[in-house]
């Protein structure tokens, strides 16, 4: 899922400074699971902003709402009225949700309350890790199910760099070296010979280097 982190409160305060009525809008999907922008976080953020506003002698008004998914029109339309009443919407959804709002409500100021960080999962409670970079040309079938694009700091395709030591990545010793993981997996699967093959140059045009991407499914179009 998409993982996000709430922005520092000082940055949020600076973003909303020019506005009086602010709707804090959460999302019930990815950011709820990553504890960054669900109903609970909307409530907590609204309380801290209310207190800060009072202490600084401002009379800002904060409304709260959370929709099931901010990246789908029908869900954001459910709070159309609250959006209309606000001077600005502070969205706690990922960047997709923020943009969906901006597109649906062209006259409304929409501000991001979180930093959309990566595609990943929780490996334990409170620990989120990156797993995929949506490169558009998945090679997990060649690498034992471990992604060297998202999980190797230099997205190497032909084995570990010279800094891999004790299973950790030289760039961030808190993370496992992806190529050590790939090596161990292939060893277990009896597929170490795969490492001998030269991996061809990657086609980055399927990643963001090809420009913004679009999928059109003619079979599904109405």
């Amino acid at each position: 899922m998409i993982k996000a982190q709430q922005k520092p409160i000082a940055e949020i305060k600076a973003l909303i400074a020019p506005y009086h009525r602010i709707l804090i809008l959460g999302c019930g999907t990815c950011v709820t699971i990553s504890f960054a922008g669900g109903e609970k976080e909307v409530g907590l953020l609204a309380s801290s902003l209310r207190i800060a506003s009072a202490m600084e002698g401002q009379d800002k008004i904060f409304a709260e709402a959370t929709v099931q998914r901010q990246c789908e029109w029908e869900f954001i339309d459910a709070v159309a009225e609250q959006i209309q009443q606000a001077d600005a919407v502070l969205s706690l959804a990922c960047g997709i949700g923020v943009q969906a709002l901006a597109e649906r409500y062209p006259d409304k100021v929409v501000l991001p309350g979180v930093n959309t960080t990566f595609l990943g999962m929780a490996v334990e409670h409170g620990v989120l890790v990156e797993r995929c970079r949506a490169c558009g040309d998945c090679i997990l079938g060649l690498t034992g199910g471990v992604c060297p694009i998202a999980r190797c700091a230099k997205n190497l395709l032909n084995g570990p760099c010279g800094g891999s030591q004790n299973g950790k990545c030289e760039v961030n010793p808190e993370l496992d070296c992806a190529w050590q993981l790939i090596y161990d997996r292939l060893a277990r699967l009896g597929q170490l010979d795969r490492l001998a093959a030269l991996m061809p140059y990657k086609d980055w045009s399927k990643d963001y280097d090809g420009g913004p991407r679009k999928i059109v499914r003619e079979d599904l179009r109405l």
Partner: protein, 307 residues
């Protein structure tokens, strides 16, 4: 003979090669290059010029390489995948070859996080093995990475790096094999202080017959101080500095440490020379270039052969 560089000639004639390293300045001062070149001239078969080493911006490797040619030294330029995509790499290599540069070391590059622009975007369009393959295709098939043909191809004696001390240890010789399959003509290893472990690595390399398919230069370098030895032991990723290396430097009076470091380096070279499959040494004495002639003299590697 693939390209006829001095380094290639020394190696193919069966001499034990000795190469040096020159770190370009963090400025536009050509005087630094002239000075460092004068310290190395005549003592080594080729001089490696680092390419934004440790991700710190410095004068470019290719431009310093051209200066060395003008000064009568043979350069080995370096190219990393960190800073350039396949377009930039190929165009820079065409230029380097047009200027007469003949040796090239292909590297992935230290991650930008370790350097002085940690917020820069890293490129990593290719990895070092793909870079080797691309350069070989340009040289041997006269083709760009996209498959288009060219009239005059850049001819490089292709080098690659390998760290025998990184993990997984068992995989390292196979990674070397992959670099050779991709097109490496010579290999430079990471700095060697743990000679027994390097011996084990070389045994595996020879068992695979890799020493017959490419020239392996062992990386060596003098240590200036006990502090530096400790730092390399604990803080440099992929470095293996056994305790006795530090102990030997600690065992001499403070004003003798540099001298001992030079002797220690020469002793390591002598040990390495005995290991089957090693074709030469690459002496890395960055910011201490004046130590190189003394080390090579002590190790019995001077004068250098004229080929």
């Amino acid at each position: 003979m693939k390209v006829g560089s001095n380094l290639e000639k020394v190696l193919t004639s069966g001499y034990f090669a000795a190469t040096g390293e020159l770190g370009p300045p963090k400025s536009a001062d050509p005087g630094v290059i002239r000075h460092k070149a004068s310290l190395l001239k005549g003592y080594v078969d080729a001089v490696n010029i680092t390419d934004n080493q440790t991700a710190i911006v410095r004068m470019s490797s290719i431009s310093v390489g051209i200066m060395l040619l003008q000064l009568g030294l043979e350069p080995t330029i370096q190219m990393t995948c960190r800073d350039r995509n396949r377009l930039a790499i190929q165009s820079d290599l065409l230029g380097a070859a047009a200027h007469g540069v003949k040796n090239l070391l292909c590297l992935t590059g230290d991650h930008q996080r370790f350097g002085n622009h940690p917020t820069a975007r890293g490129v990593y369009d290719l990895d070092s093995i793909q870079l080797i393959q691309m350069v070989k295709t340009m040289r041997d098939e006269k083709k760009f990475a996209c498959g288009e043909e060219m009239d005059v191809e850049p001819r490089f004696f292709i080098g690659a790096a390998e760290n025998p001390f990184a993990d997984p240890f068992d995989y390292r010789p196979y990674r070397l094999a992959k670099k050779i399959a991709a097109g490496a003509d010579f290999i430079q290893t990471q700095l060697i202080y743990n000679v027994p472990k390097f011996k084990e690595f070389m045994k595996r390399v020879c068992d695979l017959g890799l020493h017959e398919k490419c020239y392996i230069l062992a990386g060596v370098g003098p240590i200036k101080s006990v502090g530096m030895a400790r730092y390399m032991q604990t803080s440099v990723p992929g470095m293996d500095v056994p305790e006795e290396i530090v102990a030997r430097l600690k065992g001499v009076p403070k004003d003798q440490v540099r001298k001992e470091g030079i002797k220690q380096c020469a002793d390591i070279i002598s040990e390495i020379r005995e290991i089957p499959g090693v074709a030469g040494v690459h002496v890395m004495a960055i910011e201490w270039e004046e130590a190189v002639p003394e080390i090579l003299e002590l190790a019995g590697l001077l004068p250098r052969p004229k080929v």
